[in-house]
Amino acid sequence: MSQEAVDSDVDLHVPAHRRELHPRTLGVIAIGGALGALARYGIGLWLPTVPGGFPWGTFAINVVGCLLIGVLMVLVTDVFTGRPLLRPFLGVGVLGGFTTFSTYANEVRGLLRPGSVPVAFGYLAGTLVSALLAVIIGMVAARRLWVLR
């Protein structure tokens, strides 16, 4: 396999990731995670989820976060190389703190009630498909804009 990370948080197959365990790495992850979570909390207040309704706030957060991880991973792999704290801060911290799998699962669980089961499955599948497409679009766009010029 290639030396390009499969896991954007940390991939021990990649030598640079193996060497990056320092207190300052954990520090930038904590700060980035707090900023990302705060942004998610703010969007949640702005777009509150109606009981039984489609959770648009979390949906938008997760899809935008996936678009940005696609862009970021192309940038840290091919453009801004030699900046060891960039991926930990923006990828592990900000985007990891911004997007959430637990709220997504908990919202699907909450929608599994008579009357909102179709919404539950629409949200479950809709997020997955949109998130995967967003990663691909982010990677392709970043390659075209910054790598293949």
Binding site: D7, V10, G32, G65, M73, T100, V135
Partner: protein, 118 residues
Amino acid sequence: MTALLVVLGAMVGAPLRYLTDRLVQSRHDSLFPWGTFTVNTVGCLIIGGLGAGGTGPLFVLLGTGFCGALTTYSTFSYETVRLAQERAYFYAVTNALVSIVAGLGAALLGYTVIRALM
């Protein structure tokens, strides 16, 4: 100050995701992203249990802050796409399906157990 609870929870959750991912990966050499799978499933179990108790300050601290930052959709999606790019199609499909089934199952389990205890 509710936002401060989010910050406090996330400052623990995000580094814990990173450290757990490293620890899990150091125990196996598979391409399958067990580390992210682990944090996502555990986070879903905890938030499910918290959800049974309502959405007060404890939910904001541990659910929105801690579990929200411990779990990640961006890494999960990125890994799934990268596995497909590496032609590990079986792993890619399995990662997507198993993560979602396990996450939803864990959230239901946490919710049901705490509900029964209350």
